[in-house]
């Protein structure tokens, strides 16, 4: 008589009952495999990846303990679980599905939700995609605006899964531009396009121009193992110093110390440089100084700009990328 061994796999065993919202959902990037991703970057592909045909993501929603909702004094049937997909190049987002949160308590098994990328006709995912899971109130109550959660746009819990394109995330690009005979010996300059360093993005405010005549020399310099890193560091430090001084000067011209600037503006970029260089506490003082007098008269500010630029440049990247690393400008 042969021994038969049965293996039973159930999705509704105790350890699949989530005790906190963090256990609500997991993702697998294709039809098969483990539900291993909790949130964040799932995959990073080169430019040109056809995410639509390469991936068939599936979300697994665990059963939730009713205790979670009791603790928050929220009725599960007052909340929706919303699954979205977004095209990160086209900046477009849409709902894939939504269901009542109480279904996760009442269900006897975990629930799988497929995210059909192929069906999203108006999305191409050339620049990647993001799958979002949100727990939100079903209804709004404008009479209860004093409560923490009162509007259907508010998110009680969010998980975002990113399918990224590997790019050189840049705050600014180096543009090789002909400088003409008069400036033929100039290596680079920061061209200010606009004096608005607050409301627009940094690339609306300035461009970094490198003398096109020196393009080959730049390539040689960066490939030189001995002098390349040192040379590029000097250049970056100079460029960054000009950007910092130019930005502070223009903030000074605005004359408002309580500025609410966009994070991707030149102001936001410089602020992040101060932060990255470890001068976060000095920022407001320098903004104040920039507002008091003309920044070009202030040797102390120039000295600070130099210090920040040097520190940042030491962590800079190769010139061949034609970019400065995004990490400094996007906090």
């Amino acid at each position: 008589m042969s021994n038969k061994v049965f293996s039973v796999s159930r999705r509704d065993v105790a350890f699949n009952i989530g005790r906190s919202f963090d256990e609500l959902v997991r993702l697998r990037k294709n039809e098969t495999g483990e539900f291993q991703f909790e949130s964040g970057v799932v995959v990073e592909e080169p430019i040109g990846c056809d995410f639509k045909n390469e991936y068939r993501p599936v979300l697994r929603f665990n059963r939730l303990s009713p205790e979670i909702f009791k603790k928050l004094d929220l009725a599960p049937d007052s909340l929706n679980v919303i699954v979205t997909v977004a095209d990160t190049a086209l900046h477009l987002r849409k709902i894939v599905t939504k269901f009542c949160a109480s279904e996760l308590i009442e269900s006897s098994t975990a629930r799988d939700v497929r995210v059909p990328l192929k069906e999203q006709a108006n999305m191409g995912f050339f620049g990647g995609l993001e799958i979002g899971v949100y727990l939100k109130p079903k209804h709004s109550d404008f009479e209860s605006t004093d409560k923490m959660i009162w509007h259907s746009s508010q998110v009680l819990y969010a998980a975002r899964f990113e399918f990224k394109v590997a790019t050189e995330d840049a705050v600014f690009r180096l543009h090789f531009v002909p400088f003409g005979d008069e400036l033929k010996n100039v290596v680079y300059c920061v061209k200010w396009i606009s004096d608005d360093v607050i409301s627009g993005v940094a690339s609306d405010s300035f461009e970094v121009h490198i003398n096109d005549e020196l393009k080959n020399e730049f390539k040689l310099l960066e490939s030189n193992k001995t002098f390349g890193p040192l040379g590029t560091r000097f250049l970056f430090a100079g460029i960054l110093r000009e950007i910092i001084e130019g930005t502070l000067k223009r903030i000074g011209d605005v004359g408002d110390t309580e500025i609410e600037a966009a994070g991707d503006s030149a102001y936001g970029f410089v602020k992040n440089m101060f932060k990255a260089a470890g001068f976060v506490d000095d920022w407001s003082m320098y903004i104040q100084m920039a507002n008091e007098t003309n920044i070009t008269d202030q040797s102390e500010v120039s000295e600070m700009a130099l210090k920040v630029a040097q520190i940042i440049a030491e962590s800079g990247s190769a010139l061949s990328n034609q970019y400065y690393p995004q990490s400094l400008g996007s906090s």
């Binding site: 086209l90 939504k98 006709a121 620049g127 979002g132 259907s152 746009s153 061209k191 461009e207």
Partner: protein, 258 residues
């Protein structure tokens, strides 16, 4: 239906062509290398060519004539009208072709169109649109596609198409009504660049409120946008209806204005 192959160039080649056009040097086809999306693999596959862009060119030429000063420079007072007209022209022209969103999200195509196509007609158009009268400064090169993939929405003709792509309503009396609302600055700075601009229904509600309540750009920049940014740090508008979106926008405006 066979997908049309779209020509693309790299950012480096776009930059080289840009420099030549700016200096008035003739651009030759050895100055850049064209690739195609999808790859142009057999002779049966059709490519986007001069024939298809001729109508687009003619329509843009008419727009240029309609909004030019006597010296040929663009009338900046009508920047919003120009951009709304261009959005309609580009989106409707592109929509008639067998193209998909994957192809149209490729910045290389828009860089080709902006710098190479029609012997520089589109390059000239962008220069005309953004050059400030009496100022030396050249407009930002990202308008021509000399930018990273993250800045796709900064490419002038790409964002014109994208405006239509987001809010085009084919069944409506005016399918491009929302593109024409709220003005170019709001579209560029406060819709295409920000996360709350990802949700088409919210975008339509936002441009409606801006128009209906006559929200001025200063109020928009200093009050409403910071307020929306703060609100979406723990919220999103993806599932809100048009009316719900308008209601929350108006609530935030009233809160800001006391």
């Amino acid at each position: 239906m066979t997908t049309l192959c779209l020509p693309c160039i790299s950012v480096d080649h776009a930059s080289d062509v840009w420099n030549k056009r700016r200096q008035g040097i003739t651009v030759s086809d050895t100055d850049y290398e064209v690739t195609y999306t999808p790859e142009h693999s057999n002779s049966d596959q059709r490519t986007y060519s001069a024939i298809q862009i001729e109508q687009l060119k003619q329509d843009l030429e008419e727009t240029k004539l309609a909004f030019s000063h006597s010296d040929g420079s663009s009338d900046k007072k009508h920047a919003s009208d120009i951009d709304a007209a261009v959005a309609e022209i580009v989106h409707s022209s592109i929509s008639q072709l067998e193209l998909n969103s994957f192809q149209l999200s490729n910045g290389g195509f828009w860089a080709w169109l902006s710098n190479v196509a029609a012997d520089g007609f589109f390059w000239d158009f962008i220069y005309w649109r953004f050059k400030k009268r009496g100022k030396e400064q050249d407009p930002a090169r990202k308008n021509w596609g000399i930018c990273s993939i993250r800045e796709f929405h900064e490419i002038y003709f790409a964002r014109s198409w994208l405006m239509g792509h987001k809010v085009h309503e084919p069944e409506a009396k005016d399918p491009y009504a929302f593109v024409k609302k709220s003005g170019t600055e709001n579209w560029r700075s406060h819709i295409l660049r920000v996360e709350f601009g990802w949700d088409p229904e919210f975008v339509k509600a936002l441009v409606d409120v801006i128009e209906e309540d006559d929200i001025k750009s200063n109020l928009m920049r200093t009050k409403l946008v910071p307020s929306l940014r703060a609100w979406i740090s723990s919220a999103n508008f993806v599932d809100l209806s048009h009316d719900e979106s308008k209601k929350i926008i108006r609530y935030l405006v009233s809160k800001e204005l006391g």
